[in-house]
């Protein structure tokens, strides 16, 4: 369950130490853009100590390392991998070779630190035109690939267009990433909404992303977490409908009926699959076994 992925600057003790209390499903500790070049050493040391001693509750731990075109990324991994983060987020991923190079380094370091081989997953940040065009190749470049992540700020600079709240300039990239990720059988996450004050705009943007097929959305402010969590959670109506789907299936089986309908619409495999995903999500969020209620 990754409705919200909250970026936290890795050289800020106040934000790091409170990370587990901010309500996000995942925390992305940033060693890249949020850390000045002359503070990379301090950020790595702080993050290493924090991950080694603080309790972040149920939050998944993701670390955004520096790009493979910088002198920092290998030392980032040397510091962070022994702490066994759930995922590594490489930035500005341009193609399959980029992922394969990272995969090779992760394999080497997992052996060095006694970490199970292949257990470190990758969430690739695509934020260049080249990365978007190579999305499917990137998604299939390694078994470590867990998901694709759209970074719209750098992408719009690369596309030489203005970044707008409406987001028409990134519509193609959003659609392409969703399609590539789903075709490869992995997850896909949307870019953050960058106006911290505009919660109505955030809600519209998140609703739109959910409608396109994204599994969740990044946040750059703790103030955005509740809204994004709400948008990417099933509504009571969604849950009731999903329960009704399983109820009519059970009833049809009992009566030996082949064709099933609910509220005047045929129940087919995609509807059952969507209902299953809704109940899985609701069960995880609320700690209730909704499937048990459908029996």
């Amino acid at each position: 369950m990754r409705r919200t992925m909250l970026f936290l600057p890795s050289n800020n003790p106040n934000m790091i130490c409170n990370g587990g209390l901010l309500g996000a499903d995942s925390l992305i500790f940033d060693l890249e853009d949020a850390v000045a070049p002359d503070q990379k050493d301090a950020a790595r040391e702080l993050l290493k100590n924090a991950l080694g001693s603080l309790n972040f509750g149920k939050c998944e731990i993701i670390v955004r390392i520096n790009g493979l075109d910088t002198p920092y990324w290998e030392e980032d991994l040397e510091y962070i991998l022994p702490l066994k983060p759930d995922m590594i987020m490489p930035p500005k991923v341009s193609g399959g070779d980029y992922i394969r190079t990272l995969d090779q380094k992760l394999t080497e370091l997992e052996a060095k630190f006694g970490i199970p081989a292949g257990s470190t997953r990758i969430l690739a940040l695509l934020e260049t035109a080249q990365g978007v065009e190579n999305a499917y190749e990137i998604a299939r470049a390694s078994k470590r690939m867990m998901g694709l992540f759209l970074g719209a700020e750098d992408l719009s600079a690369d596309l030489r267009c203005k970044r707008t709240k409406e987001g028409s300039e990134i519509l193609y990239a959003r659609g392409r990433l969703v399609c590539a990720a789903r075709a490869a059988g992995i997850e896909v996450y949307d870019t953050p909404f960058t106006d911290v004050q505009d919660l109505d705009g955030l809600e519209k943007d998140a609703e739109f992303a959910k409608g396109l097929g994204f599994s969740g959305k990044a946040c750059i402010s703790p103030a955005h977490v509740d809204t994004v969590n709400r948008v990417f959670s099933p509504t009571p109506a969604d849950i009731q409908y999903a329960k009704d789907v399983f109820a009519v299936i059970a009833e049809a089986k009992r009566l030996g009926k082949g064709a099933i309908s609910l509220r005047g619409k045929m129940i087919d495999a995609p509807i059952v699959q969507r209902a299953r995903l809704v109940l899985e999500a609701a069960s995880e969020i609320e700690g209730v076994d909704y499937f048990a209620e459908t029996v």
Binding site: N14, D41, A42, E45, N49, A50
Partner: protein, 92 residues
């Protein structure tokens, strides 16, 4: 680890500690200014002292300005300051 020059790590922000390490002729001296001195002063000095020992520092003057840093932050800032101070040249 030899302290070759003055170096600093950390900030004066809330929950952080700014640690400065300088060369010294003999022994370790830790000067602490903390908003929580009465409650945690000894503990903070102990943590900084432990980091110096782990890194093999025998002679150093340490100045620390603390604004309520947790132990993991104190360890991180002290470690970074010592590593920076042990380099011949400032990091580029």
């Amino acid at each position: 680890m030899d302290i070759k020059r003055e170096a600093m790590a950390g900030t004066l922000e809330s929950s952080d500690i700014c640690v400065t390490v300088q060369p010294a002729a003999e022994g370790i001296r830790i000067d602490l200014n903390s908003t929580v001195e009465n409650y945690y002063g000894d503990s903070i000095r102990e943590t900084i002292g432990a980091v110096l020992q782990e890194l093999g520092v025998r002679n150093a003057l340490v100045s620390a300005v603390d604004h309520g840093a947790l132990d993991c932050t104190i360890r991180a800032r002290a470690t970074t300051a010592v590593k920076r101070a042990s380099r011949e040249e400032p990091q580029k």
